[in-house]
Amino acid sequence: MSRGPLSTPVAGLGRFGLYLALLAPHLLRPWRQPGAVLRQLHFIGARSVTVIAVAGGFVGMVVALQFHDTLVRFGAVGMLGAAVGLSLIRELAPVLTALIVIGRVGSAMCAEMGIMRSDNQVDALECMAIDPYGYLLAPRFTATLIAVPLLTALFNVVGIGGGWFVGVVMFDISGGAYFGAMADSVLGRDVAMDLVKSIVFALVIVWICTGKGFLMHLAARPAFGAEGVSRTTTEAVVAASISVLFADYIISALML
């Protein structure tokens, strides 16, 4: 088949689909490499806690500040807890956590895979009859799928705490009103949406970021060496961010 302006992106999509299909059987056996999963969990999860907590705290504070300024005009300051809780749990926490993880972890994973591909380390693994899908990629997928929902939950709770600080400590709303309004308006449905989003985002992040690096040599503009890794990493971060926002709209439209 000739490479046309239309067939090239379609083939790229197909390549990523095949990549996920080849990986899927390994994902069903995550206990095969507990050590590697643990190391990835440490890198993706444990070492992201600080940045997620700081970001979550400030986002919760600024959301509370903005909503307080608006709600005070309608005499509805009592709804502050509901506004902060719903906006964090449904939307802000999953999306911002995903974007932070893309920046902190996704870029690193893409560059690592890209350099391994560029240095022929992947070919070396295959020569030793080690399946790179199971050895390199499956632990990263498993760890991301575990870590991102937990980081999102952490973002939520720290954000709610940040909102509490602004609402209750700074603006003197009663703490009972803040948490009461939140508990009344947040339903199980909202928490379920939060979980679904974070799991889908985790898959999107690790799929695009590792895939871009791992399949770097097959891209429409094949990438090699330092320049290729840098270009591929940039593309991966952009594509993952856009895909997360796109998936966010789809999930919101389906679950609201």
Binding site: H42, A46, I146, A153, V186, G188, D190
Partner: protein, 149 residues
């Protein structure tokens, strides 16, 4: 030693994440992992306009339960509202369930006024003594158009 520190870090991270998830699901999301100890009741209203599943049920201003579902009875065109009440709350067979609004534009909730009968409602029973939602628009139109009479 390095490996132990990794394990410890991951363990702490996962504990913190799971604690946050648990807080969100149980405290905010009303998710009850161990099953609810509450008992079901049903109340029939001519109209339950504005009432939503999850709305709370009050007796004497204290929250004692919530609405679990609302459906139409196709035979009588009445609204069948399913409630869930704390086990220690025992209601008489002539207790009155009314749909009220929290403030002027707040959410609807169900207020139960205890009755005087000796018969206590058993789980699954139906409350027939009900007052439907009060529609502000209907009240205003009544006041405007019927004040001449």
């Amino acid at each position: 030693m390095g490996n132990f520190r990794t394990e410890l870090g991951v363990g702490l991270f996962m504990l913190a994440g799971l604690a946050c998830l648990f807080y969100l699901a149980v405290r905010l999301g009303d998710f009850e992992p161990f099953g609810s100890a509450r008992y079901p009741l049903e109340a029939r209203f001519v109209s339950s306009s504005g009432l939503k599943p999850g709305a709370f049920v009050e007796v004497g201003g204290v929250r004692v339960g919530r609405v679990t579902g609302i459906e139409l009875d196709p035979g009588t065109y009445e609204s069948r509202v399913h409630l869930e009440l704390d086990p220690e709350v025992r209601l008489q067979e002539d207790a009155i369930a009314s749909i009220r609004t929290e403030g002027i534009i707040g959410d609807k909730f169900i207020k139960i006024t205890p009755g005087g009968s000796d018969e206590i409602l058993a789980p699954g029973d139906v409350m027939f003594e009900t007052e439907s939602s009060i529609s502000l628009e209907e009240l205003i139109s009544k006041y405007i158009f019927e004040s001449d009479n």
